[in-house]
């Protein structure tokens, strides 16, 4: 089902070589999703997310990228096919070394709770005692650069800062897989770039496997080691682009001609993926 064409400039071989050295984090095995109203959100997908990679899902609206992310988060069940997490089923997710964290489109913070309490929430839900949780919370907040704002309430923070709190809340559990559903979509470009820079650093330092959904070509190229371009009607994988560039990336990469070339290529692919003629499945 993988629509990757042979001889693409960014072929699978380069990834396969590095992938063979690393175990898979998530395997999507012919998983498909048909909603109860008959809408085919995803035709069967095969995808292996390798440990340590930064994978981005991009595509026109209705291509099922959010659905695929939700399948990976086990927020929804596949209609057919299955998924494996660290070569096991979802029941083992949450154990040490198999932790998963999800960052939503919205910060989804508790408005009545201070930043520290919001960040402590996942630890509290897991039943960790306060004295053990507090240093982790402090670290996570420092990691996203909000040490001075621990006692603030969400409404006192800007949109970018709220998103940082949301990321800190995801990081505090020391996850092995970070899933992000268009987390910076509502932010202005300057703030978005800043958060992207920090995200790359976090990902690099922690070797954190990340699956990221976005609408932004620039964001996808800047962040990813691999980009999956998806097409709609029905939702499927259209093409895959590997971005083999030095890490950790910074503004220099954004200013480089290579960055522009990747963006141009990706933009062409996205245009092709959005064409109605690609609507039929081969």
């Amino acid at each position: 089902m993988n629509a990757l064409l042979p001889g693409e400039p960014f072929d699978e071989n380069a990834r396969q070589m590095t992938a063979s050295e690393r175990p898979p984090a998530v395997e999507v095995l012919s998983a498909e999703k048909v909603f109860s109203n008959g809408t085919r959100a995803l035709s069967p997908i095969d995808l292996t997310i390798t440990d340590g990679e930064f994978l981005t899902l991009i595509g026109p609206s209705g291509c099922g990228k959010s659905t695929l992310l939700k399948l990976i988060a086990s927020l929804i069940e596949p209609s057919d096919g299955r998924l494996l997490w660290w070569r096991g089923d979802f029941a083992h997710v949450g154990q040490e070394g198999r932790r998963l964290a999800f960052v939503f489109q919205e910060p989804t913070l508790m408005p009545w709770a201070r930043v520290v309490v919001n960040v402590r929430l996942p630890l509290e839900l897991a039943g960790m005692p306060r004295d053990k949780a507090d240093p982790l919370v402090k670290d996570a907040i420092a990691n996203v650069g909000l040490s001075a704002f621990g006692r603030h309430f969400p409404r006192q923070l800007s949109g970018g800062m709220k998103m940082r709190v949301s990321i800190a809340r995801a990081l505090v559990t020391n996850p092995n897989l970070l899933l992000m559903d268009e987390p910076f979509g509502a932010l202005d470009e300057f703030t978005r770039n800043k958060l992207d820079d920090d995200l790359v650093k976090l990902w690099w330092e922690r070797k954190l496997t990340t699956v990221f959904v976005t609408h932004s070509i620039y964001e996808a190229v800047f962040l990813s080691t691999r980009i999956i371009v998806m097409a709609a009607n029905p939702g499927r994988i259209f093409r895959t682009m590997t971005i083999d560039q030095p890490q950790p990336r910074d503004q220099k990469f954004r200013d480089s001609p290579k960055f522009a070339a990747y963006c141009r290529e990706l933009s062409t692919w996205l245009a092709e993926a959005s064409l109605p003629s690609t609507g039929s499945v081969s």
């Binding site: 988060a73 989804t108 508790m110 408005p111 009545w112 839900l125 309430f153």
Partner: protein, 266 residues
């Protein structure tokens, strides 16, 4: 003087007080000039004099009414919250019981009060029951609505983290319901006073009460119109005080986070 006038809090208190003073002055002067007889419609000075003259008995009546009101309010809050918690446990419970809560709400308390007063021997208790019935509904409906109005994003976050029902209730549903609950408190505090006074009226016609409503009835019988007004004034004052207390309470609890209680930052 200028900084004081610009202060929001000062204007909020001073403006209505100023309006009140002007109205009272117009009332006093106008009725004096037109020399309206006291037994038809008293002047503020007559009412004030009556308030002083009948002070002890009015105060005793006030305490009786206040006790019924507060007991009923407390009972309504506890019962209403418990019922709301039961409602949100399952759709089936809510669907089968909610119509009866509405039934309770739409039946006028004057119509039930005689029955309750006959059935319950203790006057205090029967009055409290009547007032509770009146004050109960806003707590039930508001708290139920609040417990149901969970942010869907946060709800799925809790689900993803495999939070238990109890933890979701304590950490998500209850804090999220607080603004609605406090809205219910404001309405309910006023209603419990109304319920208490109405029930006293019904009981008072049978001569079995001693609250402010009874004072009004008694003053009516003896054509002591200023005393009637004095009692009415005390009832109004109690209502305003209850409302203000609820506003203060909700401000105390929500000012940090909820839009309804946060002042514009400058």
């Amino acid at each position: 003087m200028k900084p004081l006038l610009e202060s929001e809090a000062f204007v909020r208190i001073a403006a209505p007080v100023a309006v009140g003073i002007v109205l009272f002055a117009l009332w006093e002067v106008g009725f004096r000039l037109a020399s309206v007889p006291v037994y038809l419609f008293p002047k503020p000075s007559d009412i004030f004099a009556s308030l002083l003259h009948n002070g002890p008995s009015l105060l005793r009546a006030l305490l009786v009414t206040l006790r019924v009101t507060l007991q009923a309010f407390l009972a309504a809050v506890i019962l209403g919250t418990l019922i709301a918690f039961t409602f949100v446990q399952s759709r089936a419970i809510e669907v089968s019981l909610f119509p009866y809560a509405v039934l309770l709400q739409v039946t006028p308390v004057v119509a039930i009060a005689p029955l309750v007063i006959i059935l319950v021997k203790n006057t205090q208790l029967s009055l409290t029951i009547c007032a509770t019935l009146v004050a109960l509904f806003p707590i039930i409906s508001n708290t139920t609505l609040g417990l149901r109005s969970v942010d869907p994003g946060l709800a799925s976050y809790f689900r993803m983290n495999r939070a238990s029902r109890l933890k979701t209730l304590i950490k998500l549903r209850i804090p999220g319901a607080l603004p609605y609950f406090f809205g219910g408190l404001r309405i309910s505090s006023g209603l419990s006073l109304i319920g208490a006074v109405v029930a006293e009226f019904v009981a008072g016609t049978g001569g079995r009460s001693s609250g402010l409503a009874y004072e009004i009835l008694d003053a009516g019988f003896t054509l002591d119109i200023p005393r009637m007004f004095a009692a009415l004034f005390l009832i109004t004052l109690t209502g305003v005080a209850l409302f203000a207390a609820m506003v203060a309470l909700s401000q105390l609890a929500l000012s940090n986070w909820h839009e309804s209680e946060t002042r514009a930052e400058t």
